[in-house]
Symmetry: C2
Subunit: 329 residues, 2 copies
DNA sequence: CATCGTTGTTCCAACGATGTAAAGACCGAG
DNA sequence: CTCGGTCTTTACATCGTTGGAACAACGATG
């Protein structure tokens, strides 16, 4: 691998002159510039990023800490973050926490200015004490707890309310919710939106219709749905806090020969590609994932450049995608 | 951020002694070792990986070049690769190519010993000339073309044959295939397995039943299925070259009120989590993704350590997961 | 007490890049 | 022909780490 030294020797100039050419410094004599450029070409020189960053005091990486890549929402988001980071010459390091406190702690511990310039976090279990970050960071989703970190995400209350209003507007009266969670900030807000929508339609809030889910996987949605179908008086609609739960719920319904949407309307959250092709296709709250990824990366870029540290709270748009799980073809 | 120098000053020893303690060098006096360890603790020292790797001549990263994270197979695989890489103290850099030649070329160009120690590639369009790699690499899937690079993957011919045999054993005679592709190596092999299974059952190979798919997304599967259902004599079973195609195909069938599996049996490939929860659930060829990830990373580790460069071809196991899309409950 | 081998520590150079300061080349003005 | 100012290039130090050689301390040996 060619280094600046090799190029310099070939071009017959000093190392620094080559460095100047590489970095676009203006005052290089045309003749030398040409010779250096030829030498660069001939050796196929590529800068050693490690060395450059060591000298510059940056690493060229940002961390993306998320629960699991096998969850479609995070996989899609990761893809978008990688694309957005590229525009700022950042490479993305993905850390999986599997939603556990231990996993999140170890991911955070491994972060530091020597490894990454900044971090994007999607935490699920972290405590206040854990946020002793040494690099600029941004939270995706919600503040489960009150920590001084910027945030990017949608208005979860409004989004949930929109989803449940949709169910109410279709005439549903006994609407369940799947995905309550003791620690997850988004879960609390979506529940709040659910409550608000019921309240404004003067529908009662029924405890037994709110089912918790510890993980947001398909299996959890299926289990929750089964318990709902076992009720003396099962719901006629269900709002799931993410699409995977909804997919699991629809699966459980199908196994009991409960028809969606005739017997049971289902709304999800995240608008995974999977939900467009399921049978029936799934009505879902669609956050603008591209906007989230871009906003998060841009925010970190500003913070990494200027050392100011104003907290920001960026709200990204969402929409409701209505499909067959609430309105039959 | 504390450096070795800070720790050394605090402990009252030289930088090198601290380095020796950090790296587990045996001959350090107990007394000094204790003082250094206390100083390490007190300063919260974490080695600067960039500097360490610069000195050691490695980067601590491997690249994972794949089409797109939003494709579940690659998302799951990426998660497993990250986990496997952790055991060798490697961080994973994910590059998305979006299946285009340009994307793959630019990903490859950005690779080099200054950035990564090794690379795992899942190419779809690359040409022979492109494989001028300067780091150890391994291909996932198949050699589309004849290049001297190690490979890890399943026996695609046998896997496809197993899938189609399954359909034949259920009495299907008119079996379609979705996913033929002009350049993709795996596509050719899966088609070969399909052909072999037909041949051994003395079933005719019918051209119109083999449908190409340029991308392997759900939409492509749906489009292909529609064209098959438009045939004068449509198939009674279909083998899709991946699960996304199969999901799209089942969706298209449902829209035409074609029942799966009664009117049409469907087999996929990849065994995505999504396929377990679809309605009907999808019979699929299940490659052992964990084994693939581990084998690829381990192979690269061996190659990065010892400079020998024997080509390896690692075959990982697969199985057929039979579900409702071929056998009704 | 000189010598030796073992153990423990330090100093120096190097990895590849860039910022700083100083030196060299060149120009026109006085 | 010197001076002062702009270009242009260079030498050097530096980022944080580690390998190697040098050095120092030590008890054991002859």
């Amino acid at each position: 691998m060619a280094t600046l030294k090799d190029v310099a020797r070939l071009a017959g100039v000093s190392v620094k002159t080559v460095s100047n050419v590489v970095n676009g410094y203006s005052f290089v004599k045309a003749d030398n510039r040409r010779r250096v450029e030829e030498a660069l070409e001939a050796t196929g020189y590529r800068p050693n990023l490690g060395a450059r960053n060591l000298r510059r005091g940056r690493t060229g990486f940002i961390a993306l800490v998320l629960p699991e890549l096998s969850i479609p929402y995070f996989a899609e988001l990761a893809g978008l973050v990688i694309a957005a980071a590229q525009e700022h010459e950042w490479n993305v390091l993905i850390e999986q926490t599997f939603g556990t406190l231990a996993g999140e702690r170890s991911a955070l511990a491994s972060l530091g200015p020597h490894l990454v310039d900044a971090a994007i976090l999607s935490p699920e279990a972290l405590q206040v004490d854990d946020f002793q970050l040494s690099v600029p960071a941004v939270l995706l989703g919600e503040h489960a707890i009150d920590v001084p970190i910027s945030r990017v995400g949608i208005d979860n209350v409004a989004a949930a309310q929109t989803a449940v209003r949709h169910l109410i507007s279709l005439g549903h009266q006994r609407i369940a919710a799947i995905g309550a969670h003791p620690h997850r900030g988004t879960a609390a807000l979506r529940l709040e939106g659910y409550r608000a929508a019921l309240a404004e339609a003067s529908l009662p809030f029924v405890d037994e219709l709110v089912v918790p889910a510890l993980n947001y996987h398909r299996a959890d949605g299926a289990a929750a749905m089964k318990s709902l179908l076992d009720l003396r008086n099962p719901p006629d609609a269900v709002f799931c806090f993410n699409d995977l739960l909804a997919i699991g719920a629809m699966r459980a319904a199908a196994e009991r020969f409960v028809r969606v949407p005739q017997d049971l309307a289902v709304v999800g959250f995240d608008n995974n590609e999977e939900s467009v092709y399921s049978s029936p296709s799934l009505t879902s709250v669609a956050p603008d994932k591209g906007a989230i990824a871009r906003a998060a990366v841009d925010l970190l870029h500003r913070r990494a450049e200027s050392r100011d540290s104003a907290l920001e709270d960026v709200e990204t748009p969402f929409s409701l995608q209505v499909r067959e799980s609430t309105v039959a073809r």
